[in-house]
């Protein structure tokens, strides 16, 4: 059975979809996958810095959701629960990577723009090239951040999530989340100044 969008579930909220999926309705799960696959891959890419790794982790996240659908309870938002699973899987993978110390080939080629899908109709070729380089350096700076800053920066400044939702996902107080975001931005700024010096 291929994952296809079902028109019946398009108007459902995330919580309604998971409730339907808990009743063994696979079409609801298909709708969830279609809604969250791009967001999830983007998040995981910014977290890991590698596209293939991000896709593998995204598949693992959806499989975990498929197996553990009964664990969701309507106490929190579905997105909160879903991103918690994704972050846990990403952290586990990061620890494994540290033990194995694997290196991605794309890291050696700053001109390699395969990791970045830019909309060509918005930017000029020069801007595209410039943006690609800048994005690369930003990504490098994000990869260099500490794990606790990287998570909150990505969720807030890339995924554009609310502070309350970030606090629920990270299971941290609201003040801690805000302070970490501020400190993470400062650190990122310093790294970017070191890595990339914009043309003045």
């Amino acid at each position: 059975m291929l994952l296809k969008s079902n028109s019946v579930y398009k108007g459902y909220t995330d919580e309604q979809l998971i409730a339907e999926f808990q009743k063994d309705k696979v079409e609801a799960f298909n709708e969830i996958v279609l809604r969250y696959k791009d967001k999830l891959i983007n998040f995981l890419f910014r977290y890991t810095g590698n596209r293939e790794e991000a896709e593998d982790l995204a598949q693992d996240t959806f499989l975990k959701l498929y197996k553990s659908k009964h664990l969701y309870k309507e106490i929190a938002k579905f997105s909160t629960w879903f991103y918690t699973i994704a972050i846990n899987i990403a952290k586990t993978n990061l620890r494994k990577k540290k033990n194995y110390s694997s290196i991605s080939i794309s890291d050696f080629d700053p001109d390699n723009e395969k990791d970045f899908d830019l909309k060509a109709d918005v930017l000029t070729p020069e801007e595209t090239a410039q943006a690609g380089i800048e994005n690369h350096y930003i990504q490098q700076a994000i990869n260099s951040l500490d794990e606790k800053f990287k998570e909150v920066i990505i969720l807030r400044d890339i995924q554009d999530m609310d502070y309350e939702e970030i606090a629920d996902i990270m299971k941290l107080p609201l003040g801690t989340v805000k302070s970490r975001i501020n400190r993470g931005r400062e650190k990122l700024k310093e790294l970017l100044e070191e890595i990339y010096k914009p043309n003045s």
């Binding site: 059975m1 696959k37 791009d38 891959i41 959806f62 930003i138 400044d157 931005r185």
Partner: protein, 278 residues
């Protein structure tokens, strides 16, 4: 709020980063993963259902044999313990039951005329105390029974009971003579061990009791027994149980044939006693 407004340029740069999208093959690969997962779950269910036959194989595998051995030993030990405990309880209950039966038997013995010597002496002593009637010597035709009877009447019940309980039947008299309580201490009622006689005799008991009461009230002014008299009484089986129990018993048995004579004799004895008291 100030934190949110700080470093907004960095936030804008990050928001402008390109959004990564999933490949076309992402959904296909995910579908394959889901199908594999479903098939694994189905095989697990099949294996669990079909594992009944292989259950015992796994149970008696090399890993579980030591644990099975230990558990079986423990189970057997527990069973043996409980079985032994039950047996002990049953033995104890049987013993307790036997004891109860013994008590029943001892109680029934007087009715069956096969009482123990002590019980016989007690009964004889009680009967003598209550009735103060002559002993079996009256059946032998001894005239001196009245003297013996009068003296026995004066003996307290408690003393007699103590004596009967302590001794085997031989008791010292007040004058130093020995009396075999077993043989001769029979009451008027027990002289003839005949059921018919016993039915008739109880009617006399109130009179006898009255005479007993009168005799009790009177002081002990009776003439003391001489030694010869006591010897005679002892020999002849007077009050105090002179004769051997075997003789007394043997003498009792034939007396069953002459109940009327016993009644006459007792009356004469009573009358003599009354005269004496007067």
């Amino acid at each position: 709020m100030e934190h949110e407004n700080e470093h907004l340029d960095i936030r804008e740069k990050l928001l402008r980063l390109p959004k990564i999208q999933a490949d076309e093959n992402f959904l296909k690969r995910l579908q394959i993963q889901i199908d594999i997962l479903d098939s694994e779950e189905r095989t697990r269910d099949v294996v669990e259902k079909g594992s009944v036959s292989g259950y015992f194989k796994n149970l008696f595998g090399a890993r579980l044999m030591p644990a099975l051995g230990i558990t079986s030993v423990i189970v057997v030990a527990v069973l043996v313990y409980f079985v032994l405990a039950d047996k002990k309880d049953s033995v104890v209950n049987n013993l307790a039951g036997n004891k109860n039966q013994e008590t029943i038997i001892t109680k029934e013995k007087p009715e069956d005329k096969k009482t123990s010597p002590q019980n016989e002496t007690k009964e004889l002593a009680k009967n003598d105390v209550n009735t103060q009637t002559p002993s079996t010597n009256s059946l032998n035709g001894n005239k001196t029974e009245s003297d013996n009877i009068s003296k026995d009447k004066t003996a307290p019940k408690e003393k007699i009971q103590e004596l009967t309980s302590k001794t085997e039947g031989v008791v010292s008299d007040e004058r130093g003579g020995q009396i075999n309580i077993r043989g001769g201490r029979t009451s008027e009622n027990n002289i003839v061990l005949d059921k018919i006689k016993q039915q008739v005799e109880p009617t006399k008991k109130p009179d006898e009791k009255q005479t007993e009461a009168e005799k009790k009230d009177t002081p002990k002014t009776e003439a003391p027994m001489t030694s010869t008299d006591s010897e005679k009484s002892i020999k002849e089986g007077g009050r105090g149980g002179v004769t051997d129990p075997t003789k007394s018993r043997s003498s009792i048995k034939p007396k069953k044939k002459e109940p009327n004579e016993v009644i006459d004799i007792n009356k004469s004895v009573l009358e003599s006693l009354r005269d004496k008291l007067k």
